[in-house]
Subunit: 341 residues, 2 copies
Amino acid sequence: MRPTVHDLAQSAGVSLATVDRVLNNRPGVKASTRSRVEEAIARIGFVRDVAAANLAKGRIYPLTFVVPSGDNSFMVSLRHQIEEAKTRSIAERTEIVMVEVPAFDAEALVAALRALRNDPPAGVAVVAVDTEEVRRELLALKASGVAIVTLVSDLEGFDRDHFAGVDNLAAGRTAGSLMARFLAGKTGRIGVIAGSMLVRDHQDRLIGFRERLAEINPSLVILPAEECHDDPHRVDAAARRLLAEAEGLVGIYNLGAGNRGLIAALSLMPSGPRPVAIAHELTDHTRAALEGGVIDVILNQDAGHEVRAAIRVMKAKSDGTPVIAAQERIRIDIFLKDNLP
Amino acid sequence: MRPTVHDLAQSAGVSLATVDRVLNNRPGVKASTRSRVEEAIARIGFVRDVAAANLAKGRIYPLTFVVPSGDNSFMVSLRHQIEEAKTRSIAERTEIVMVEVPAFDAEALVAALRALRNDPPAGVAVVAVDTEEVRRELLALKASGVAIVTLVSDLEGFDRDHFAGVDNLAAGRTAGSLMARFLAGKTGRIGVIAGSMLVRDHQDRLIGFRERLAEINPSLVILPAEECHDDPHRVDAAARRLLAEAEGLVGIYNLGAGNRGLIAALSLMPSGPRPVAIAHELTDHTRAALEGGVIDVILNQDAGHEVRAAIRVMKAKSDGTPVIAAQERIRIDIFLKDNLP
DNA sequence: CAGATTTTGAGGTACGTAAATCATTTTCTT
DNA sequence: AAGAAAATGATTTACGTACCTCAAAATCTG
């Protein structure tokens, strides 16, 4: 039988009240008594029944997601997953609030985070823009006991409780590997389309891509990245330009959003050999393009997994429970038409 | 505030006792009363607090995993993950029993399943051999209210509650795609190493592989599969034979276990172009081979995910709670050296 | 309509923990 | 050693649900 607080009290030779004081670190316990209880905990293998504790406390976990607004399809999907999670709130004892802030707007983000100070939630998951003020604000929240999870993009060197996202340098390298291998020694030019080089994620992907491509096949020429700000129309235009102008365009990599534009441009090509096309994020559009052979590889991060992982981690951190690291790690999914979910 | 049984009783205009009778379908309730309560449940959105209910019932979930013994590295890892899950039993209110049966031994499996009849657990997760007797035994368990999860390999057309594993046809197709794409139009022979063609999983992988390879590049010649029964030594020998004998061996696919043999054989090759090597299951060995460039791609199913998904599903089924399908779906992971976990 | 039967209600205890109050004991201070 | 302060104990109620008993009411049977 699982030991209870009563067993613990008996085993430690103290009263239930003292056990309670120790477990919930209330004041007024001598250090020696406290360690006596802690020893007993270890000895009998006591594990607090979190469900019973939550019942007694009437506890729910207030969790706040701070995410960018805008119609970038990945962010749309992320917000959708947060809404889905709200659906499960009753059963999971969570109360999820989603705050939308304009994308790439550090001031708005800071304001949103500051607003949380009044009534701090148990955890905050944030798609962070990396500025000093943002870091300061998050640190302040963390100092007041809020579990901090960075979502999608991490803050380098920042002591958050968890990062629910992928390593974009590795993602870029993966794209580079696949591009080089699919081209198997061929020579030619590679077009790259990006959202904005001011965003860390995109920088990383590009760096990784270039690095790896150069390692495997230095004869491939990587054209300068076209910044299209994740706008399908601009991506369309850029892709057309690349396809028309660049003699020997053998590959094209869209490391940002706006894949509809890329797909449109590729679909309009005259029949004949197509460049190897690699892009990010699995959506209805990219799925169809993959199935139709217009796009060769989609790299993906599972937004649903990210949201669920963030929730689990915030709950766990906020009651000092261990996390299953392997479960919470977000994969860089590689999708071909053959292994689509 | 979340409605409780008391709110429900009041809202339905019945007593707490009647609500209890309805919720736990105890006898002695008029049909009209029962439906009155059910309407109230829908009206006020009552959701039973499973945690409180489990506390009251003193409920734990007895779960049994029936898995093959043997030192196939995937099965070793699967068993390890089950042991890991045992570690979390206290916190998750599970009591996990692992039963090992000799691999591919239908009789032993049937016996193990029959033994569960006396004291049926809440759920059974089983790596099933597909025979009539096995199906009958599982059906009997299911009929007595046990949640049935097939693990790793599914029983086609069998009405299990869940399958925690991957689609091996798709996995084979994925391998075929990658092989063909990495060879980019080249011509030559492809060696295939399998465990046993009597196992459904391996059949499927081979079928998918051949299919897809033929679709993309029909000029590639796929050699007959070498059955090595997942034994590293036999795999080693077979790989050496392939590498020595086959003129123009451009690719090698091990769809079974025993990768150590494959890696050994490949590592001994004289320098020069290596065949594209694709294999299954990420282990310490295959990871090192991937990093060292000896193997090009590892396809993987996450044993930890499979075990955790099986547990979540068995718990959910056994108390009629919904399952998050996307979360429980097991991916066909594609690992290059760039996106290793 | 009496008696039997079915259905419903009222109320209590339990699960493991939290949180509170008040009483008692121990330890410190001077 | 007396008084103050700190530490500990004893006990109770509550959380939401399950499950039990006994009584009362409603419905059926002939």
